[in-house]
Symmetry: C2
Subunit: 332 residues, 2 copies
């Protein structure tokens, strides 16, 4: 196995977030379940946008956020995802590059606009996402750059992409390439409803070559169709080498080699916006893992990064996470 | 004089801000004087953007920020300014409308893109602005809607627009229309360098029909070519009915009817980003004035709004300013 150019390379949706505030009544009026992510069509996102309050635009995308987090810790990260040649595509490209993440997927014009997600933040800090998937779901295996995938210690796959047949094919190709090169494949389940739509195929993918599985409580219980978290956790530990399960305020659980590590959350003075908490937990964990830290330290780095992201609006860190971790004694 | 539809109508640049962080060395390398606003061409803004860190996009524009502030206090505000039919133009239109400000200027395509300003925030909270004036300076008198101008108690003119001949003509037309309708014209000088470029014409405009003049220390001393603030203030008081002079941490000075009102600043726990402090001071002041408050109260509303804007990134309020003022006992 040759030395890796990247600690982690991700394949995910390239999305610009439009973040605005709203109250619970606005969500109810528009049939959006608080705290969920739903896919919406062009008409729905226009209606929501026209009726919501002022917004701010910040680059996002779940796996893209994770790669930016890894770079902020000082790790080498790459991203594969699809944007159009429009203003939002330019914003996405600038921001991920400026954050230190390698991003070389060529823009595609005249097919669909760059994907965007309307994130409505209620006064309690909860976020409800309404995502219009434009060009980013159009990713196919031709865009999965083999040198990037085989040149990373960990290849990180974003479950959200799994809704389109060509993206599924791209994922399977990435798993084959990575496994053949002796690399580790990580998968985040992304969303309970997405798991529900593709349960069988997700399980096949996991059992066929995923070494690290990230999921939150809703996702892992959806995957194994049980209301019992402990049972879902046991089954995840049997299906994959390393299961990393996040549980919001209850912290996280890391299962590997028959052992369980319970990781507490990092306290936050005020939960301003929970967008990206799971993405940044994965960033801290994967940075720690690829920097040869033990699992408990990797988990604590995940909690640290999640706490930073919750303390402000937007899912990209506003503080250098490496410095933050050193100040806290988690890295030297 | 018929009843006014709007408390204030503004004519200004329609700009989307791209806000990022940088250190002092970055500013020095790119020849940008900390705390200043400079106009840059398309090439320079591209270079700065490609070398700066990740950004967030928030609607801005000096007079537009002021109108949003007035709406946040509960006042009726309108804005006249020019955008293109691109994504940034759509963002600007959405945000100002969603904030409750009437905005009916039609977009113009294929001439120039929507204006944008790269705002570089240094660790001390100072902001350095690099503005690429696209379509917004192209405003001409045909776009100054007479019904809007004559339908507002106060017509507020943004000095930044004064660099283009057609915009100067638009300003003069607005002054004539407003004065003929018995309305008050307010002018903000916007920038010391802008004053330097157009001193004689600014003085003519002020003496010919500006009832309220807003300026900070650098602008008013530039206008009267004196290093002595007190002298500049005396001359401003002679040239206009109401002079409102802001002095950063030293508070503000309101001069009218031979009297001077000194207004303290509102304390801020942490100055995160000073972008928009002057714009929001003007919002509080103009709201107070058009809501028939006395000058000292109007000034304190200005200080309150400026403090809110300094406490976070971006030049549009994140808190309802009317509620904030009521909580502080400044409005009932």
């Amino acid at each position: 196995m040759t030395a890796a150019r990247f600690a982690v390379a991700a394949i995910g949706n390239a999305i610009v977030d439009i973040i605005g505030r709203c109250d619970d009544a606005f969500l109810a009026k528009h049939g959006a379940a608080k705290g969920s992510m739903r896919l919406v069509d062009a008409q729905t996102i226009e209606t929501l946008y026209s009726e919501m309050g002022p917004g701010i635009e910040i680059s996002g995308g779940s796996a893209a956020n994770t790669m930016v987090g890894i770079a902020s810790f000082g790790g080498k990260a790459a991203f594969i995802g699809k944007v159009a040649g429009d203003e939002f595509g330019r914003i996405f490209r600038h921001d991920i590059g400026a954050a230190g993440v390698a991003f070389d997927t060529a823009p595609v014009n005249d097919k669909a606009p760059t994907s965007r997600s309307l994130i409505l933040v209620t006064p309690d800090g909860e976020r409800t996402m309404n995502t219009f998937l434009g060009i980013s779901t159009d990713l196919d295996h031709g865009e999965v750059d083999a040198a990037t995938v085989t040149g990373a210690e960990v290849v990180y796959l974003e479950g959200y992409l799994f809704d389109q047949p060509q993206a599924k094919a791209a994922f399977r190709q990435a798993v084959s390439l990575a496994n053949a090169a002796g690399r580790t494949v990580a998968l985040t389940l992304s969303d309970g409803f997405c798991v529900d739509r593709h349960r069988t195929e997700f399980l096949e993918l996991i059992r066929s070559g995923v070494g690290i599985l990230f999921a939150n409580e809703a996702e892992i219980t959806s995957l194994y169709q049980t209301a019992n978290f402990d049972e879902a956790a046991r089954r995840a530990a049997a299906d994959t080498k390393l299961a990393v399960l996040t549980r919001s305020a209850k912290g996280s659980l890391i299962l590997a080699d028959g052992k369980a590590h319970e990781i507490p959350v990092d306290p936050v003075a005020e939960a301003v916006d929970t967008t990206g908490a799971g993405d940044l937990y994965a960033a801290g964990f994967l940075y720690g893992l690829t920097a040869s830290r033990d699992l408990a330290t990797a988990g604590r780095l995940g909690s640290l990064a999640a706490a930073e992201i919750i303390s402000h609006v937007g899912a990209r860190p506003q503080t250098n996470l490496g410095e933050l971790a050193r100040a806290r004694g988690l890295l030297s």
